[in-house]
Symmetry: C2
Subunit: 228 residues, 2 copies
Amino acid sequence: MRATFAGYSGLIMETFTPTARTQVRRLPKRGVYDKREVYAILDEGFVCHVGFALDGQPYVIPTGYARLADEILIHGSAASRMLHALGDGVDVCVTVTLIDGLVFSRSAFHHSMNYRSVVMLGRARVLADPAEKMIALRRFTNHILPGRFEEVRPPSDAELKSTTVLALPLEEVSAKIRTGPPVEDEGDIERPVWAGVVPLHTRLGTPEPMDDLVPGVAELERSRFTRF
Amino acid sequence: MRATFAGYSGLIMETFTPTARTQVRRLPKRGVYDKREVYAILDEGFVCHVGFALDGQPYVIPTGYARLADEILIHGSAASRMLHALGDGVDVCVTVTLIDGLVFSRSAFHHSMNYRSVVMLGRARVLADPAEKMIALRRFTNHILPGRFEEVRPPSDAELKSTTVLALPLEEVSAKIRTGPPVEDEGDIERPVWAGVVPLHTRLGTPEPMDDLVPGVAELERSRFTRF
C-alpha cells in the first residue's frame, strides 16, 4: 500500500490496496477499491455494524457513524462494553450497507438485491483530546443534518467526558456493489412472470414535533436532509 | 431456559432468557426478550449482518435472511468463505437492525435514533437434506414477496447443490428498541430550535422491468409487498 501524506496531493492514495483479508473473492467483479466510490457510500450511510470478538465470541452491534477525512468515527457512552473493548485496541470490522433494490428474476435462484457495502478492518484509537472529540461530535451531528450542530446547545464538559469517541483509520477497506437487472438463464425468458428491479428508497416521514417547542420555531427544511 | 416442545403450546418458550452475553446492560430499559416482539422485528427486516472471527479477525458481512419457526436462515454460494466458516460450526453473531427515525434534541448530546435491533448468538448448522433446503429457499423468496416462489422456476438440482443454507437456532437472543421523543435537559427547553422525531421509511421506487418480458405480463402488485 502506498503511503498517504496529507497535504501533498501527488502522493495521496486514490485506491485501497486489497489485502488477503479484503480482496473480494466471491464474484470479484463486484469488488470496489476506489477511494472516491468507497467514501461516497460511507457519506451516504449513517448506521454501521461494528464487529469485535470477546473471549472468542463475535458480537455485531449497530451504531451511528460519520467519516472524517481518512477515518471512520463511532461514539457512545463511556460505560459501553463495546467501546471499552474497541478502545483497548482489539481487532474490529466495521461494515456499512446500503440496500438499493430488490432484484426479481424469472427463476428463484437468480433473485438478488442491489446493494453497496463497505467493509473496514483495523484497530480503533480513542480520541483523548477534548478539542478533537468536539470536532468529532460536530461531525456526527452534521453528518445527519448539515448545520445542526451550530443551532443546538453544544456538548458540556460533563457530556464530553461521558462520551467515548473512537476513530478507525480507513486503510484496509473494500466495497462490494451490485447494480442492474437480474441474471436470467436463457430457458427462463419465455416464462410469463414479471422480472426486473424494484428500487428501494429511504424516505422521511411526517415530522413529530415536541409539544413544548418555543412558539414560532421553524420546521426543519426538507432540503437540508441531503441524503433522503 | 425452558425447553421448547413444538406442538405442545403449554411449554413453548415465550421469552428469551437473557444470558451474560445477551443481557442488555447499557440502557437496560431498552432491552426486549419477548419472543413475539423479537420475531416481529425479524419478520419485518430482510438484511442481516453476520459476524464471525477467522484467525482472531472479526468480519461483518451483510446478507439476506429469513426466519423459519425458531431458526434464522442465511444462504449463499457453496463457494463462500463465510458460509464455509460458519458451516464448520464457529461461533456466530447475526444482527438485524431497523432504523425507525431520527431524533432531534435541542442539545447536540441528546440527538439519537429510534431503532429496533436483534442480536442472535450461537452456532449455525448446514442444511444437508435437499428437501429441507428447498423449504428454506422457498422461505427466502417468499419472505421478500409472498407467493413469489410459486410463480417462478423452482431451483434445479444443480442450483440446489451450489447453494449452502445455514440455520441458526434462535436461543440466545436479545432485542433493543428505542422509541419516542428526544430526552431534553430542562435548561434547553427555551432554546428556539426545532426538536422532535423525523420518522424514516423504506419505500418502493418505480419498478424497472426487463425489456424482454413476455407481452402482457402483469406488474407486481404493490399490495403484495407487505412490509413497505
